[in-house]
Structure formats: C-alpha cells, structure tokens
C-alpha cells in the first residue's frame, strides 16, 4: 500500500494543555520536526488516531507514527489507559511511547514502566530546559531511533 509521504506522521503528541503543546511544537519546529506531527488533546482521540476510529475512520489508514509523546493527565481516557490499550493491541504493541508529563511521582514511573513504556520524561518548568528536552526527544525518536518495519514501512 502506497502512502503519500506528506500524509505520514512521525510524532503523535497527546497533550491537553495548549500552552504546553505550543511550547513543544515551537521546540520541535525549530528542528524541523513539527511538519509531520499530529496533535490530539485527549486519550480518546489518541486511540481513535492510532486505531483509525471516530474522526479518523474516514481517512485512508495512515501508518503508525515513529513515536507517541503521551501526557498522563488527560481528559476522557487518561495516559495510563492509552498506554495500556496500545500495549494490548498486536498492531501497536511495539509502538514507541514516551511519557512526557509534569508528574515526578515515583508511582507514575513505576506504573508506566510496568505497562511497557519506552521512556519516562518529566517536563521541566524552565523554558530553555523544556525546549531542549522536547527537541532532544524528537531528534532521538524520529531521526536516531529505528523501529521494526511492521510498525512503520519506510
């Protein structure tokens, strides 16, 4: 199946706070990583996107993104539920998921690792640190990291 390159998504950003999203987008944009980015504002939308449901049902199926940047506190379906659903489905089981959250609670780290998260990153408050962290994440997962072809045919 051929998919137009411009319709491919590298990063799925699941973030309900528009300010955080804007800061993240700006950091990624500076490194040309925001072009192929889909931003959803809650967990339900994230699952709709990944499993081609709801508003994403009509679109031609897109391949999975290279990475999901997932906040934990989300409306409707929270981050842990999204992660659990991703790991529960065979087609998304190996999808790289990075939790990007304000929480520094140990129980969140433990819970997400138990569900098989690929990385847990606490959002720094300081702007420059935040920007650098998000940019580093984008660069690493989109440009450096390689994923199995069944997740994403290149």
């Amino acid at each position: 199946m051929m998919v137009a390159p411009e319709s491919m998504v590298d990063i799925l950003l699941v973030e309900d706070n528009p300010d955080d999203a804007e800061l993240a987008l700006r950091a990624l944009r500076k490194h040309n990583l925001a072009n192929r980015l889909e931003w959803v504002k809650d967990g339900a939308a994230a699952l709709d996107f990944l499993f081609h449901r709801g508003v994403y049902a009509d679109h031609p199926p897109k391949p999975l993104p290279r990475v999901v940047m997932l906040d934990l506190r989300l409306p409707k379906v929270d981050g842990l539920e999204v992660l659990r659903a991703i790991r529960a489905q065979p087609e998304t089981r190996e999808l790289p998921v990075v939790v990007l959250t304000s929480s520094r609670e140990e129980r969140d780290v433990v819970a997400t690792y138990e569900l098989g998260v690929n990385s847990f990153v606490a959002k720094p408050v300081a702007f420059d640190e935040f920007a650098r962290t998000v940019a580093d994440l984008g660069l690493y997962w989109v440009l450096v990291n390689r994923v199995p072809p069944e997740i994403r045919p290149s």
Partner: protein
C-alpha cells in the same frame, strides 16, 4: 435469689438441726436419767422391803425387842422411796403401781406396828394365834410390795431401754433427713454452678469472624446472670468502639487518599501554569529581544526566576508529603559510610571553599536508608550552606548514647555542628516548622522545608530533633534514633 444467699441459707440449715439435735438429746437424756433413777430406787426399796421381812421374821421368831426399830427404819426407807415416787403418780404405766405401793405400804406399816405391839411380852400369852395372823398379813403385804416394786423396776428398765432406742432412732432420722434436705437443696445450686461455669468458660472464648467476643447466652438473677449481663454490656461497648474505630480508620484512609490525590494534583497541575509562564517569557525574550530594552529583559528575568522558585517550592512540599507517607524499611545502617557518601555528594561540585569536615566514629543505627540519607543530606546541606562566609568552615558530625525521658528507650543522638551563621535561639522552636525561615531569601536561599522533612522522618523513627545556636555563633542540629529495632516497636506500642 443470689447464690451467696442460697449458700448462706443452706449452711444455716445444719446449724439449726445441730441445735435441735442438742436439745432433744439433752431432754431425752433427762428422761433416761429419771428412768435409771427409778430403777435404782425400786431396787433399793426392794432391799428395804426384804429387810423388813427379815426383821419381822426375827421378831416373830425371837420376840427380840432390840431390832424392832430397825424394822421401822427399813419401813421409813421404803416410805421415803414412795414419797420420792410421787412424781411418777401421773405417768400412765407407773401411776397405778405407785398408788398401789402407797396403799400397800400403809397396810404394811399397820401390820408391822401391830406385830410390834404384839411382841410386848405381857401380851404374849393371849395373842399367840393372833400374832400368827398378823405376821401372815404383814408377809403378804410385803410380798405385794415386793412384787409391785419388782414390776416397777422392770417397767423402768424396759422403759429405759425402749426410750434410749427411740431417742437414738429419732436422732438418726433427724440427721439423715437433714443430709437429704441439704443435698436436695444443694443439687440445683451445684447444677447451676456447673452449667454456668461451663457456658462462661466456653462463651467468653468464643469469637466472631472479626475477632470480637460474642454475647453470652446465660440468664438468671444470680451472680452468674449479673456477670453475663456485665460481660454482654462490655461486648456491646467493645463492638461499638470497634465500629467507631473502623469508621475512624475509614475516614483516615479517605483523608490519606484525598491527600495523595491532592499532592498528585499539586505535582502535575501546578507545574503546567509555571511552565507556561516561564515558557512564554522565554519566547518573548527570544523572539522580541530586539524590541525590549535592558530593564524589560531584567523584569522578565525576575518573573522567570520566580516561576522556577515556585517549582522548587512545589518539589519541596511534595518531598515533605512523601516523607510523611514513606513506609519505613528497617535495616541496620552504617552511619559512617552513609554520612561520607552524603558529604561527598554535597561537596562534589564545590571546590573553591575551604571546609574542615570532621566525622567521629558513628555507631550504626536502625532506620530506613532513604529517610536517613535525606536527613543527613538536609542537615549537612544546611551546614554547608550557612558556613558559606566562613574561612575555614568547620563542620563536625558526632554521636552519643542517651535514654529517652518518655519511653526510657536507649537512644543514639547524632549531631551536626557548624561554625556558620547560626540563628537566634529565641526562634529555635520555629526552625523545624514548614516554611519557617530565620534568614532572608537574599541572605541564604531556601524554602523552609528541609528541616521540616528532617523532623517528619525522625518522628517516623520514634526519635526527636533538637537545635541550638547563636547569631553568628554556629549551629548544632541533632536527632535521635532508638538503639534497637525492638525498642522502636515498644515505643510505637506505648504510644498507640
């Protein structure tokens, strides 16, 4: 009726019977004595009657004058005996005999006197035949007297035996009846004692699934009934207080859960606006730098610094909250190694200062390694921070044994001494309170949480914290830990 009263009454019954026994024995013995006396007396009287007969025969045969007074004496003995028998005249079996005796004695006296009179020598010749008749009459009267007396004697002896048998039979039945009565009265009591003790010993040990004692099934108005009612009241109180305690515990659990949710929200939601403030200030400073003058950039810097300070506050509050919630993992900790490690950690980036650090040999302590690392980190960090202006800075760690005044547990006091800025001892009590600082933010940075965390952790170890110092005279902070783990549990039990 109470068991005590019943026992008293049953005990009183044998006492009454004993009195009755004594009285009847006493009276029966009186009667026995009287009968025995009667038998003896009739025997003596028969003796006297025989004397009279002998004397009369000798008078008749010899006409001896000298012995006739002996006959009167013997008759007087019989007479006195008959007078003594007067008390028996109303007795049914004896009365007639006694009256007959009196009559016969009278006749015997008359005949004897006649015989006596006939022995006068002057009358001898004319009354010879007559004297024979008188002697015969006297003899027959004496026979009658003797036979009556013998009968009386035998009657008395028979009555004596019969009465004695009767008396002892009566006493035997009295004792036997009492024994049966006491047994009959004691039996229900013993039965009650047995069943009540059984149900008490079984019932008081019976527990319901929650480990609470069950109410006793034991009614009655006696002591056992009262005991069962008291026990049931106690069980009811226990159940009520257990329910109250459980309700309280549930409330506490809810409160803890609320607190955890709260701190989680603080952790997550309070940071987002701070990030937005700092982030958009950052965008402004990056994108609009050309349009902004130096003062505007400085003001943005102030905003940015405050946002970051607030983040530090949030982190510290969360650390304090975590300190309160930490489930302690007790191990014996090598304090020397721990203090050295924390010190190395704190001074790894500081090279331009001269700090004389002296650590005495510290005894190992029981505690949670994470908590103790935090305690040492905060105390040594403070010492390092407040000796910033000293050259050289002197920081010393010591330990000593002491005993807790409240729990009498053996404690170890670990201390950190420094020669830093110190504090006004008047405010020493405020040091360990949350957000309380004795120095301005422009003097020494900090949020006022570090010592509060130290206090929280030390309290969780059943220890205590103390501080002393003087303005510009250095400070001395110390905390205590129990020497052994068991003493810690004892201390907890004592406070629970």
């Amino acid at each position: 009726m109470s068991i005590q009263t019943k026992l008293k009454l049953i005990g009183l019954l044998p006492l009454l019977v004993a009195i009755l026994f004594g009285v009847t024995i006493y009276r029966g013995q009186d009667r026995l004595n009287a009968l025995s006396q009667l038998a003896l007396q009739t025997e003596a009287m028969r003796e006297a009657v025989r004397d009279v007969r002998d004397i009369s025969q000798r008078i008749f045969a010899t006409r001896e004058n000298a012995i006739r007074y002996d006959g009167y004496d013997a008759l007087e003995v019989v007479n006195l005996g008959v007078i003594r028998l007067a008390g028996w005249r109303d007795e049914p079996r004896v009365g007639a005999t006694v009256r007959e005796l009196e009559r016969r004695l009278l006749l015997a006296r008359i005949h004897y006197e006649m015989l006596d009179g006939l022995t006068v020598p002057a009358l001898q010749w004319s009354a010879v035949p007559h004297i024979n008749t008188v002697a015969q009459n006297l003899s027959s009267e004496l026979d009658a007297l003797d036979s009556r007396l013998r009968a009386l004697h035998q009657t008395a002896r028979l009555a004596l035996v019969e009465h004695s048998d009767q008396l002892w039979r009566r006493e035997f039945w009295l004792v036997a009846l009492t024994a049966v009565l006491v047994l009959w009265l004691t039996h229900p009591l013993l039965d009650r004692l047995g069943t009540a003790l059984h149900s008490l010993s079984q019932g008081t040990r019976r527990l319901d699934p929650d480990g609470l004692p069950q109410p006793l099934d034991l009614s009655g108005e006696d002591e056992f009934g009262q005991l069962a009612r008291d026990f049931n009241a106690m069980v009811a109180r226990l159940v009520a207080s257990e329910a109250a305690r459980e309700a309280h515990s549930r409330e506490l659990q809810t409160a803890i859960a609320d607190l955890e949710n709260f701190s989680y929200s603080v952790s997550h939601d309070l940071r987002a606006p701070l990030r937005a403030i700092d982030g958009f200030i950052g965008i402004l400073r990056e994108d609009y730098a050309p349009q902004l003058d130096a003062e505007a950039l400085r003001l943005f810097g102030v905003v940015s610094a405050n946002a970051q300070k607030m983040e530090q506050l949030i982190d510290d509050i969360l650390a304090l909250s975590r300190a309160g919630r930490l489930a302690l993992d007790w191990t014996l900790i090598d304090m020397n190694a721990l203090v050295d490690a924390v010190w190395a950690d704190l001074t790894s980036g500081v090279t331009q200062r001269t700090v004389e650090f002296q650590r005495d040999a510290l005894p190992p302590g029981w505690g949670d390694p994470r908590a103790l690392r935090q305690i040492w980190h905060n105390l040594l960090g403070n010492a390092l921070k407040f000796t910033r202006d000293r050259d050289p800075a002197c920081i010393r760690v010591t330990a000593q044994f002491e005993s807790d005044a409240h729990t009498v547990a053996e404690m170890i006091r670990y201390s950190v001494h420094d020669n830093g800025a110190g504090f006004d001892p008047a405010y020493a009590s405020k040091l360990f309170q949350l957000f309380q600082r004795l120095h301005g933010m422009d003097e020494f940075a900090g949020t006022g949480v570090g010592l509060a965390i130290v206090k929280r952790f030390v309290q969780k170890h059943s220890g205590s914290v103390a501080a002393s110092g003087a303005v510009n005279g250095g400070a001395h902070f110390s905390f205590t830990l129990p020497r052994t783990h068991t003493e810690i549990e004892d201390a907890y039990d004592g406070r629970a």
